[in-house]
Amino acid sequence: MSRGSFTSVARAVGWRNIHNWVSNPALFVPSLLFPLFFFMAFAGGLSRVDSVPGFDYDAGYTTFVYGFVLLQTSAFGGVFTSFGIARDFESGFSRRLLLSAENRGGIIGGYWLAGLTRALMSITVITAIALLTGLHIDGGVVDLAGLYVLVLVVNAFAMLAGTGVAMRLRTMQAGPAIQVPFFLLLFMAPVWVPYDLLTGWVDTAAAFNPFTLVLEANRGFLAGDPTKVLPAFLVVLALVSVSLLWARGGLKSAERAA
């Protein structure tokens, strides 16, 4: 199978999904509004938390929260793209797509392009609003490049993991099975305070949560003090590798069912 067929299938599937997302306000508006609500609620409502003894993050609470919202926006960009896959199966579109696509791997490639575009657009909006409302970035160009590459790799992981579930279950009822694990991973990390200030079982869960490393790396990039960069990238790349195999298995399962 040629590389060209992979690219053409990926471009077609990606374009269709991006077009559906942008042209449907019921899909487009919530995906931009939700991260904004989180950002406003946490940065606005909890800013006093930075006065708690032991909270040492010089870039400020808005920046601290931005590090989380960026991760959340990126991960959910991937998660919601995989919802589109489940919807396509329910409508029968995916069945026709599987029959007509010259290279079926290109289907996953297309959904990845859609998830990436979705994340980039959401990140642009949230960053613009964060900058207007007091986001303070101490990191340089290299730090920022590291930050955005890291969260976009997380976006790929979320999309591939969600794709694996959506292609196996092939129904919109798969929504909670895709969304809930990511929701838990995100919130069982040091969302509102640094890791050292967590207590109870969340402290233990955060210690084993790969998103804890990503969050700490994000906040380090933003503060111009890169922290745990290599472990964060290694963990996320490992997750992408595993989820790629998971998504490929999902595709095979969908092919058998088609």
Partner: protein, 260 residues
């Protein structure tokens, strides 16, 4: 139509509404489980906030418990709206419109499921609070008052869900309205007391947001004991929203029945 006939109609429809809600684990379990998961995460993640000078209690779990009641009530909106939308989409409402059923009976009957779910949620959250060491400063009468306020909040949000479903006639619109209600929760005093919110704009929004007073009404019974002002504001906001949304839902039902 006699009063006994109205009571019979309400009874039959309320029974259907309650049984239908309880028969859908996908509706009941998340509505109970999600607020508890968030409560648990918030308690561990924000416990250090109790070290902020002026924080009203030394247990964030006790502070955050009120959030579970209001968040649970938000799910009532979703479940009530989804049930009504399904009745419209399946044609059940059309068939009812051909019977001599009174609109009032239909409206009151629909509320049965909301209240049953609200009661399950309130009793579960109280039980979890008690098991994990939350103190109820206002004692058992206070706990019963919490249940009453929680049911009123569920009723208000549930009627909003029913209103949206009756106006739009489909479940997608109900799902679309859910984030807006969620935003109302997020822009309230859910995470910190209003006097400890640092940002002026957020404090202003939280002060104008009725959800803040619902949370503070429940919270006052757990943390401070009997605080007449907090309770009056809590009941007034919940009752006001319940009344307005009930009127709006009744009006939408009238329009929907006429269309039928």
């Amino acid at each position: 139509m006699s009063r006994s006939s109205l009571a019979l109609q309400v009874g039959v429809l309320a029974r259907r509404s309650v049984v239908r809600t309880l028969r859908q684990p996908a509706m009941v379990i998340p509505a109970v489980l999600f607020p508890l998961i968030l409560l648990s995460i918030n308690s561990g993640g924000l416990d250090s906030a109790t070290r902020i000078p002026g924080f009203p209690t030394d247990s964030y779990f006790q502070f955050a418990l009120a959030l579970a009641f209001v968040q649970g009530a938000l799910f009532s909106s979703n479940s009530a709206g989804t049930n009504v939308a399904s009745d419209i989409e399946s044609g059940f409402l059309n068939r009812l419109a051909l019977t001599p059923l009174r609109r009032l009976a239909l409206m009151l009957g629909m509320l049965g499921g909301i209240l049953a779910l609200g009661l399950i949620q309130a009793m579960t959250f109280l039980g979890v609070g008690w098991v994990f060491g939350a103190e109820f400063e206002a004692g058992i009468p206070g706990a019963l008052t919490i249940v009453a306020l929680s049911l009123l909040i569920s009723l208000g949000f549930g009627c909003i869900g029913a209103f949206v479903a009756l106006r739009a006639g489909n479940g997608e619109a109900v799902q679309g309205a859910f984030p807006l209600l969620f935003a109302a929760l997020f822009l309230s005093s859910m995470s910190l007391p209003r006097n400890l919110i640092e940002n002026d704009w957020f404090q202003t929004v939280a002060t104008w947001n009725p959800v803040s007073y619902m949370l503070e009404g429940i919270r006052s019974l757990m943390i401070e004991g009997w605080d007449p002002e907090a309770l009056a504001l809590g009941f007034a906001c919940a009752g006001g929203i319940a009344l307005l949304s009930l009127l709006a839902a009744s009006s939408a039902l009238r329009t929907r029945m006429v269309r039928t």
